[in-house]
């Protein structure tokens, strides 16, 4: 629960305007989605675990409603239903508050966050992924965060391929995911000994998980299954494009980013800015999402946290 007064409110609006004008420059149309919708929509869109963090209440007839915990679910349904006949690709952007219950100890303590986001629907593959990454980079540099932000990219299929090869139970898969996510190297090696998995070892060196192109080379030495290799190839191709745009200083590959495996189906990304203790944005490819609303097609997008960006930029302004 946060008030913005005077100069802070102006700064926040400026940040929002910058992002929305960049989206507009790339032909993204603004959408405004309902703040309150049936809970089912969000469970279908985000999966149960994330949707449950939404604030829920009942309608007159007893049906469960929720304050929207994300915008992507609504946009995906809109694309699959209202706009099913419109020619593809669809490009949408939004600036909208989302509401989530937060665990007490969390540094991301705010229940209400405004997301600046975009979705590119009906366009798959490298060009679409690259479009999203370029957009994010452009917004951050227009906010004068050049050389102070870092976008990490990964392809979730690298992990999925390794996990499938190891033939894990759902509980063991979740444990493996958690150990990689928190970089618990020693525990991870202990876990892997049971499975005799050479491929798993690729995740057991925290300092080799993140970096530039070399990360992929190192991973290739251990990871040989077809599914993971295909993902490594597409990540490497994407990296080559990033280099050709001369953006490699602002990007990192992070094979350890396995935080939202159930949601993303290919590229996943996180955005960090100096001065913010947590990530200020995230996104990725979610080709499985629109299918759950009846029209399967590729989709990719990201969100930036307007409140976190305002805080970083505001603190900086105050210091100046």
């Amino acid at each position: 629960m946060r008030y913005y007064i005077g100069a802070e409110a102006r700064l926040r609006r400026t940040v929002e305007d910058v992002a929305m004008s960049v989206f507009e420059g790339w032909n993204y149309e603004e959408v405004i989605t309902p703040s309150v919708d049936y809970y089912d929509l969000f469970e279908q869109g985000m999966g149960q675990r994330e949707a449950q963090r939404g604030f829920r209440f009942t309608d007159n007839d007893g049906r469960l409603l929720a304050l929207r915990p994300d915008v992507t679910s609504s946009v995906a349904r809109m694309a699959a239903t209202l706009l099913s006949e419109r020619p593809r690709p669809l490009r949408f952007c939004y600036a909208a508050p989302v509401f989530r219950q937060q665990t007490q100890s969390h540094a991301e303590w705010r229940r209400e966050n405004t997301q600046l986001g975009c979705e590119l629907i009906g366009s798959g593959g490298k060009p679409a992924d690259l479009e999203i990454l370029s957009l994010a980079a452009e917004i951050l540099s227009r906010l004068n965060l050049q050389s102070r932000y870092c976008i990490t990219i990964n392809n979730v299929e690298i992990f999925n391929g390794v996990a499938a090869q190891m033939n894990l139970t759902p509980a063991a898969r979740e444990q493996l995911r958690r150990l990689i996510d928190t970089r618990e190297a020693a525990e991870l090696r202990r876990f892997l000994q049971e499975y005799d998995s050479r491929a798993g070892e690729a995740f057991s060196q925290p300092t080799q998980l993140t970096g530039k192109r070399d990360v992929i080379k190192t991973a290739r030495r251990l990871i040989t299954n077809e599914r993971s290799v295909a993902a490594l190839n597409s990540l490497e191709e994407l990296w080559a494009e990033i280099e050709s745009l001369n953006l490699q200083d602002s990007f990192e590959i992070d094979l350890g980013d396995v935080s939202s495996l159930d949601y993303y189906t290919g590229l996943s990304l996180k955005i960090f800015v100096r001065g913010a203790g947590t990530s200020v944005g995230r996104g990725g490819r979610y080709d499985g999402l629109t299918g759950s609303f009846g029209r399967a097609e590729p989709a990719v997008g990201f969100v930036l946290n307007l409140d976190a960006l305002t805080e970083v930029l505001g603190r900086e302004g105050a210091q100046r």
């Binding site: 540094a107 928190t182 300092t207 960090f272 800015v273 913010a276 203790g277 947590t278």
Partner: protein, 205 residues
């Protein structure tokens, strides 16, 4: 520069000794023993000394980039951090202890558990479906069974001396705890070079 939050108390001395072996020394500790923030000799690191339970807080918010803290504290805090290194220092166990070795099977209905570690205790008993009442204390937990406040305690044990002196024995071990290096998620990316330098220095000692 990297800021390292170090848990005061039993962790502090062994953490500083380990860092010193890795070539990272706070300047002039003797004269600064009461200062809560110190730079190292090279100016690459800054140390802050805070209560153990506050280490995850400073690191999660990114005020400190890294921290040295026991696994017991991390299990209790549920903070979202990276845990790349087990430093193997300040080794101890988190245990269930009682005056009667058979306490766990004798008590009927509901077990009263006195502890500083309410999260760990409720997770441990909850996972096995044992109904418990958690009594949160902030110190001298070993007194609770003798005075009739609780049937068992969940606490940290190093040598077992304190337990023995208070007539308690270990009935179950919940987890082992050692000092961990924790890292803020954003610092891990934004100060990647400095963080891996620290990781490498600590791994090779």
């Amino acid at each position: 520069m990297i800021t390292i939050a170090i848990a005061k108390g039993r962790m502090q001395e062994s953490a500083l000794a380990l860092l010193a072996r890795a070539g990272i020394r706070p300047c002039d500790t003797a004269n600064n023993s009461r200062r809560l923030a110190l730079a190292d000799e090279t100016g690459q690191y800054r140390f802050i000394f805070v209560k153990p339970a506050d280490v995850p807080v400073y690191v999660e918010h990114g005020i400190a980039d890294c921290g040295v803290v026991g696994r017991d504290v991390l299990l209790e805090s549920e903070a979202d951090l990276l845990l790349p290194l087990d430093l193997g220092i300040a080794r101890c166990r988190i245990v269930v202890a009682a005056a009667d070795p058979e306490a766990m099977t004798k008590v009927q209905g509901m077990i009263r558990v006195a502890t500083k570690y309410s999260q760990i205790a409720s997770a441990h008993f909850g996972a096995r479906g044992i109904p418990v009442e958690i009594i949160q204390l902030s110190g001298s937990v070993e007194l609770a069974p003798a005075l009739g406040l609780a049937d068992v305690i969940v606490d940290l044990v190093e040598t077992g001396q304190t337990l023995r002196e208070n007539g308690l024995t270990v009935v179950e071990e919940i987890a082992e705890s050692t000092g961990r290096l924790v890292v803020n998620r954003a610092s891990y990316q934004l100060k990647a070079e400095e963080v891996s330098r620290l990781l490498n220095a600590l791994t090779t000692t």
